[in-house]
Symmetry: C2
Subunit: 204 residues, 2 copies
DNA sequence: TATTTTTGATTGACTGATCAATCAATAAAA
DNA sequence: TTTTATTGATTGATCAGTCAATCAAAAATA
């Protein structure tokens, strides 16, 4: 049924199919055939639009990272205060769709791929920086910059760690518990620093 | 040079070679040829001793997890108090050899593999449980059990998270900084819960 | 001790399967 | 007619896994 303007439709279908197949399979060692089948087209068409398997996979990372970014932006807009914005960033990280086993499996596979593909690595580095900087920007409004950096580093690590540990599916932690742990961390580290009481502390 | 008793020698050489090749390659999509070459034997011999590539990889995970376990046990023995034991567990997690880029890349690859191989997953689950329980046992001596569980969960996540983030090699964190972040986390959560911890609040 | 037999170690050459990538051909819009 | 979408068939490369053959040490035997 060749109709003009199929390209964007097919590209999206293939990228979505790739994510699903990778998530199910839990690995990037998926075939173009599987992806194409899942997208309801022939393997040859996948090559036609993406040129190579690698390009399709890179595009898949790119698109999904972009979507995650959009979620964060939306959530940040809805939050008013810096403290609310911090919570928003955390909440999005543990969003139901992000926390689904197949999604986690897929991201894990991409992390592994990043060791080999410079382009995949670049995208993931951007994600890691963004997470850290979203936390940092709002923490800076609540405590001295020096402390903000430490806390952002720790919180980002905790978020990624909870995520990774989830991938093993042993003693899975609920979304709420994951959010609570991260919030607790920030609250406790912030508590002694946020007040003006800290202000009178000059550098040691 | 056929001499009797080569089997254990070859097995060890192949397992070590596998870890090295996987670490360099940053992925489990390595060939038996590469591994065998690295070990200085023919691919056929690798098959002779391990039966299949999958078995060799599983054995590789097992052996390296065992080594990590031995390090932890040794470190725990050397530590006296529960608080010292906590520090020991953290220290071993970030040991230089564990924190080397190739080692991290290899573990990441195994995590991804665990999504597909039930046996690999089992080993990693054991590791995750052990980390958590080593932390938990010693935390229990320092605070109420309920809190101990929360803190153990958070600390384990932070350790794994720092580890994973290291794999992207963007803004790498030093071993000392990683240890400090984790120690800080535990100290701060412990502070309001234990008299002893409050006493030994010495540094920031 | 000298000779033969057995056994473990090792490999080169091969096979079968899998898969990414290509391409020529077809069908339907424009 | 030209362009775009689409596929079946095919190719070439890569690899895991197999196997029969070799070689040398060890054990058994004379």
């Amino acid at each position: 049924m060749p109709k003009v303007g199929m390209e964007p439709v097919r590209r999206k279908a293939l990228v979505d199919a790739a994510m699903r197949v990778i998530g199910d399979h839990g690995s990037l060692t998926v075939t173009m055939s599987e992806i194409a089948k899942q997208a309801g087209v022939s393997p040859a068409l996948a090559h036609h639009y993406f040129g190579s398997k690698e390009q399709l996979l890179i595009e898949t990372v790119r698109v999904h990272l972009q979507r995650l970014r959009d979620s964060v932006i939306t959530a940040l807009r809805a939050a008013k205060t810096p403290r609310e914005k911090l919570s928003a960033v955390i909440r999005v990280s543990f969003q139901a769709d992000q926390f689904a086993p197949e999604t986690i499996a897929a991201w894990l596979a991409f992390y592994a791929e990043a060791q080999r593909s410079e382009e995949t690595r670049r995208f993931l580095v951007i994600y890691a920086r963004r997470l850290r900087s979203n936390l940092l920007a709002n923490l800076k409004a609540l405590c001295p910059e020096e402390d903000a950096e430490r806390i952002a580093e720790g919180a980002a690590a905790m978020i990624d760690g909870l995520y990774i540990r989830q991938s093993l599916r042993s003693a899975p932690i609920s979304i709420e518990a994951s959010i609570a742990l991260t919030e607790d961390y920030i609250n406790l580290l912030l508590a002694p620093l946020s007040r003006e009481a800290a202000v009178q502390r000059t550098e040691t």
